[in-house]
Symmetry: C2
Subunit: 324 residues, 2 copies
């Protein structure tokens, strides 16, 4: 099964998620719907709702709450994107103008707060303690991960272990929660829940590793190689951690200077990208991601084979192979 | 009973709240504790925990969860202050440097997100559906109120009714939730819960009205009268709504120009303050606040007399009489 087949098979369910997403944006403050629709119509791939729907199905779920729950995890994800874009002073998100550029930082912060609150409000109305435990834990850990990432900006002593903790917290825990919620909806046995929690964590880590690797995919700019946003923002990700572990002293100290100065020019960018090339640091990162996806799949062993399980495999393959 | 007596009588309980506040700031991200302690040691008056403690006591509560719940509402309030200060580009909060000035906007946004999440995380662990209903409703309405306020900046057509909706949502609903949670803890009858909900709403509106009135208390600056932050930020509050209702056409259009230009100088400030004086717009706002406090007290009629009820009266008097 490939990802296109998955999108097709789940067309109706994904439409159900979309309906919940727009329905719950209605508010007495029209700015909320405006910013919300801008974000939600921006071509997001709905990976989290997709994993939730498939996890529920893989555990035999036949009910009707999965659309709403899918929209809840997407709201939380969207809220974090709104705040991230303010923090990173982003001007582009998925090829279109970012919400902070269109509506301003103030609206992005406040509508992000609204989406967080609304997500938890909707979840609370499900009256299911286990769902609330998972969601409130995930959002807390996520926000800790975001703070850790902020604190690690420019920290070239960051170890691979510390990097993985940040990635797990800021990205993987919500993806894992999405899978977990599917299993909870289906009232799956604890072994199935645990299988999906672990699957989600490893897929989530892989997802972020691919993102971080692709950020160093060389793009030819007018004045030489163009550098991705992580280097511009001083974010230390796995390609850099790996590079610093292998580069020579002179290279290391030049990279250090580039991070300290904060605004790498085309020459700096070319230097860093050449080093990443020389030490295969991007390949290393991609290889790690693929290995996480392999482990993720193995976690699903306790779950019986089904089209939904095949689809979970297809989604994880898609994540590990995507090119942007 | 006066407010000093209330602080004294509740000393132990307030210390219990403080303990919960610091305890739950522990995190693997040290920046969270730093920003958190900066905010929580900044001399906040803990009005919301105080009202929660007293509401619980007025309904006969004898348990031990009120400290934690008090800290939860204070976390939510603190999170909103962190985001407000970023939005208003504030540099001072309660006489000391604001968190955004000390730690930056990024840390303020993310630690605000953490405090929101942590508050709901702690509340979820209480395993009480009614508590979660109240809290998740309050945070959602609060964030809508904040968005409404942002959308109303510079809107000189704002009516008193629209202004009151913003104030109710952004401020009064959380204060009301604090009172409600006290009654829920005490397992109070529905009539007592409703009494405290209404009390909290009216006290909360009064609280914000006083804030908005005092913002126009004339302060002598070096170059004439100094203007408060609301006018600087273009926030249309009740003194301005009242003023525009009564001023002459020429005054109205000058006020309009001042709001449109955005950065009032000393002459503009003096003009606005003189108008507010001429039409008693600050007095009107203060009088409205006191009338809300009177109504608030009447809502408590169904609740038997007790030292805690007297203390609730004392807190509401304190709110309506405070001078900064």
């Amino acid at each position: 099964m490939n990802i296109e087949q998955v999108w097709k098979d789940l067309e109706k369910d994904l439409a159900g998620v979309e309906q919940c997403l727009s329905q719950n944006l209605q508010s007495s403050a029209p700015l909320i719907s405006e910013v919300g629709f801008h974000m939600l119509s921006g071509g997001g791939k709905r990976i989290r709702p997709l994993l939730l729907l498939l996890s529920a199905k893989a555990c035999g779920y036949r009910g009707a709450r999965h659309h709403l729950l899918g929209s809840i995890v997407e709201y939380i994800h969207t809220a974090s994107l709104l705040h991230d874009d303010v923090i990173d002073e982003a001007s582009i998100r998925r090829g279109q103008a970012s919400a902070n550029r269109v509506f301003g930082n103030q609206a992005s912060i406040l509508v992000g707060d609204f989406l967080y609150s609304k997500a938890l409000y909707l979840a609370v109305r499900e009256q299911n303690q286990e769902i609330m435990d998972v969601l409130s834990d995930a959002t807390t850990v996520m926000s800790e991960g975001e703070v850790m990432q902020l604190a690690s900006i420019g920290n070239l002593d960051l170890t691979e272990g510390e990097y993985l903790t940040v990635v797990t917290n800021k990205t993987a825990v919500l993806i894992s929660a999405a899978c977990h919620l599917g299993a909870i909806l289906a009232d799956a046995p604890s072994s199935h829940k645990q299988a999906l929690v672990q699957f989600g964590l490893d897929v989530g880590i892989a997802f972020q590793l691919i993102d971080d690797a692709l950020d160093y995919a060389a793009q030819e700019g007018k004045l030489g190689k163009k550098v991705g946003k992580d280097l511009m923002e001083g974010k230390v990700t796995l390609p850099i951690v790996h590079l610093l572990r292998h580069s020579e002293a002179a290279e290391k100290s030049r990279i250090q200077r580039i991070f300290e100065n904060g605004t790498p020019d085309a020459e700096d960018a070319t230097f860093v990208l050449d080093c990443i090339d020389k030490y295969d640091s991007m390949d290393y990162t991609l290889k790690q991601a693929r290995s996480y996806v392999q482990t993720a799949k193995q976690h699903l062993d306790p779950i019986e084979g089904s089209p939904a399980k095949d689809a979970l495999f297809a989604v994880s393959d898609y994540i590990s192979r995507r090119e942007r």
